[in-house]
């Protein structure tokens, strides 16, 4: 379960590329165990390190720029998180310390995975992303107010589903919430079983 999240102030790490896919965020070769941890070292491994097997930082990649060492926010382009559904991409980002991503758009599976792991996926217009990039200064993200403000007083609002907002704001466990409706689910399945008996299978193992 993720930590509740209400406000973040951070210098955004600029990663202004379109279509940053989850193979780049965490290459498959870095998913070495069946667990959900130990992934931060593999975050952006293909861009972050020189060569493919070593761990020598590539100074040209922004994640290795000391200026952004404390960044908790990523500033991105279009269709961030496209490709593989691997939740390891979000686990790696969260483990590294990121708590929000500002992008022009997100791939849907990735955005869902963010919400389940305490990272806020925030969609902003291209001009807002550009303005934040140009100022290269800390921004404050407030979840209750659904806004992003810059130190020089610019303010952008963002939309977020009420469900996702509540999950992030209170660090809720979705399974616990849904299990409160167990009776209703059972009743629904009872009716559905009568209407669509072919959906319900005998033991298959």
């Amino acid at each position: 379960m993720a930590q509740p999240l209400s406000q973040i102030t951070s210098l955004p790490l600029p990663l202004l590329r379109d279509n940053v896919d989850t193979d780049q965020i965490i290459p498959s070769r870095e998913m070495k165990s069946t667990g959900k941890t130990g992934l931060a070292g593999g975050l952006f491994a293909g861009w972050r390190y020189i060569g493919t097997s070593g761990r020598e930082p590539d100074p040209a990649f922004v994640l290795n720029n000391p200026r952004y060492a404390q960044s908790e926010v990523i500033l991105a382009g279009r269709n961030f998180g496209c490709g593989s559904s691997r939740e390891h991409a979000v686990w790696a980002l969260a483990e590294f310390g990121f708590r929000a991503i500002l992008a022009e758009s997100f791939a849907p599976i990735f955005a869902g995975n963010c919400v389940r792991n305490g990272i806020v996926p925030i969609v902003l217009e291209a001009d807002a992303i550009a303005a934040i990039s140009v100022s290269d200064a800390p921004v404050t993200i407030r979840l209750d107010e659904q806004d992003v403000t810059s130190a020089d007083g610019q303010r952008w609002t963002f939309a977020i589903d009420a469900e996702a907002k509540a999950m992030l704001r209170h660090g809720l466990d979705a399974i616990d919430l849904t299990l409160q409706q167990a009776q209703r689910i059972a009743e629904w399945q009872g009716c559905d079983r009568a209407a669509r008996p072919w959906i319900y299978l005998e033991e298959t193992a």
């Binding site: 590329r17 379109d18 279509n19 896919d21 193979d23 780049q24 290459p27 498959s28 070769r29 998913m31 070495k32 165990s33 069946t34 667990g35 959900k36 293909g46 493919t52 279009r78 269709n79 496209c82 490709g83 559904s85 691997r86 939740e87 758009s105 997100f106 791939a107 849907p108 599976i109 869902g112 995975n113 389940r116 792991n117 589903d161 009420a162 469900e163 996702a164 907002k165 509540a166 979705a174 399974i175 919430l177 849904t178 299990l179 409706q181 209703r184 689910i185 629904w188 399945q189 559905d192 669509r196 008996p197 072919w198 959906i199 319900y200 299978l201 005998e202 033991e203 298959t204 193992a205």
Partner: protein, 469 residues
């Protein structure tokens, strides 16, 4: 005398296929506008299956209905002949062993390494009648949208959602918008569903479907067989759509009849009557509409590092190509795609590894030889596809042409630290992703149809299948 108007039920509003399936699965409406949606089928694989099942068990939760959860070893299982649990991926064996243990403990049917029904999840699920029209099906794999070809609502999710669905039989979802992509006209010869998908994504962007569930419609879609429909729906995730789907028809029903987990006897008749209601009504409104004339399409080839970086095989690298993608792929603006030398050719993946794909490639390869220096590999999508291909003698066509003929699995569609084509190799591939290093360190992937990849393997360079004689 005036008659009293009789009460009539309000005319039901026209619905899309997506709306029909969604509405029939809403268990409850949640605060904040999301719905609690019933999930009919869940499919796990060995790459992430153990993680989800172990997390569930660690939280003291149970799989609510294990009979409706299936699992398969496809992602990192070896595809070389005579395989065991050993894989070239460092630590890969543990993923297989832990998935085997976790599924057994949970009472979930696993199609294991050497099970005759083993294969890529989105190939075997239809083969076994696990996906059905009107069903909701999820898997922790982005290409689950493949199965929308059967008029199901099928989509990829992460591990947390897999856990949620297994524990509760539901997901909490915000309903997406709807989009209809209509392919009118008739596909020209040697232009395939893969080319339809790549043309759509090239035209409207890799994010073009974001926020929408896509229905593929039109004469060119109706004319496709089930396998071609699967290829088209498979690429919906590369369009960033929630899913792709096609209204089920007689082809769909005939394809499913007699499959192992499909209904049989009176249950089949009842199911069939229900499935025939799964249409998009004539007046149904979609939030977005796109129309493409299939008759104008050409075989497509990717030139960059996103599926949106694709053009007709007879075109050049566009003048507005982003420099970053060109630096990676090692091409310049204005370069003709046809004639670019390749080091390898790969036919396989959940996109293009079914019997019709292999037949299409074999028809071009028959009696010819792969060009010198080209490493060529064919990986059937399932053990069943492999057997059926061998029964037709397709394996001999591939092997005699110079292809390796493998056991089924995801294989070299992605690189997990094991097998690859060699550092920086240039590959013509029937897979779905041309991302940086997707198929191995610095591997330059050009995605295309089986016909285009087969033609390229013969020519030793990217080639137009229409020019192979």
């Amino acid at each position: 005398m005036r008659s009293t108007p009789r009460w009539r039920p309000p005319l039901s509003e026209p619905l899309t296929l997506f709306d029909r399936i969604w509405r029939s699965h809403v268990v409850a409406s949640l605060e904040g506008g999301a719905d609690l949606v019933a999930i009919d089928r869940i499919f796990l694989h060995e790459r992430t299956g153990a993680a989800a099942l172990n997390a569930l068990a660690a939280a003291g939760r149970k799989v609510a209905d294990p009979a409706r959860v299936f699992a398969v070893t496809d992602h990192i299982v070896d595809t070389r002949p005579g395989r065991t649990d050993q894989t070239l991926m460092p630590g890969g064996q543990a993923f297989i062993a832990e998935t085997r243990a976790a599924t057994q403990a949970a009472g979930i049917r696993l199609f294991d390494v050497n099970d005759p029904d083993q294969g890529i999840v989105h190939v075997i699920s239809p083969e076994l009648g696990i996906v059905l029209p009107g069903a909701t099906l999820i898997a922790p794999d982005s290409h689950t949208c493949t199965q929308g070809a059967f008029g199901a609502l099928a989509w990829g999710i992460g591990s947390s959602e897999a856990e949620h669905a297994m524990a509760t039989g539901t997901l909490r979802l915000k309903k997406p918008g709807t989009m209809r992509v209509t392919f009118s006209g008739t596909l020209p010869a040697l232009v395939t569903p893969k080319d339809m998908a790549l043309a759509l994504i090239a035209r409207y962007g890799a994010g073009g479907g974001a926020g929408h569930a896509v229905e593929f419609a039109g004469d060119a879609v109706r004319a496709l067989g089930m396998e071609g429909r699967m290829t088209l729906c498979n690429m919906a995730t590369e369009f960033s759509a929630m899913t792709g789907m096609i209204v089920p028809d007689e082809k769909t029903f005939a394809w499913l009849e007699g499959r192992r987990y499909a209904p049989a006897g009176p249950a089949w008749d009842a199911a069939l009557a229900h499935w025939r209601t799964l249409i998009s009504d004539a007046g149904a409104r979609f939030d977005r509409e796109i129309e493409i004339d299939a008759g104008t399409l050409a075989p497509m080839i990717s030139w960059g590092t996103s599926p949106e970086h694709a053009v007709g095989i007879d075109q050049c690298v566009p003048e507005d190509a982003p420099q970053r993608a060109l630096d990676y792929i090692g091409l310049e603006k204005g370069t003709s795609l046809r004639g670019i030398r390749i080091d390898a050719a790969f036919i396989g993946s959940c996109t293009n590894s079914r019997l019709s794909d292999l037949r299409q490639a074999a028809a071009l390869l028959r009696g010819k030889l792969v060009a010198d220096g080209v490493k060529a590999i064919c990986v059937p999508g399932s053990s069943r596809v492999k057997r059926e291909a061998e029964a037709e003698g397709l394996d001999r066509v591939f092997v005699e042409a110079g292809f390796e003929w493998r056991e089924s699995g995801c294989s070299m569609c992605f690189y997990a630290g094991g097998e690859s084509f060699g550092h920086g190799a240039r590959v013509a591939s029937t897979t779905n992703r041309n991302f940086e290093s997707r198929q191995g360190p610095n591997v330059k992937t050009h995605i295309a149809s089986p016909a285009t990849v087969a033609a390229s393997a013969l020519a030793g360079c990217l080639a137009d299948p229409r020019e192979i004689t």
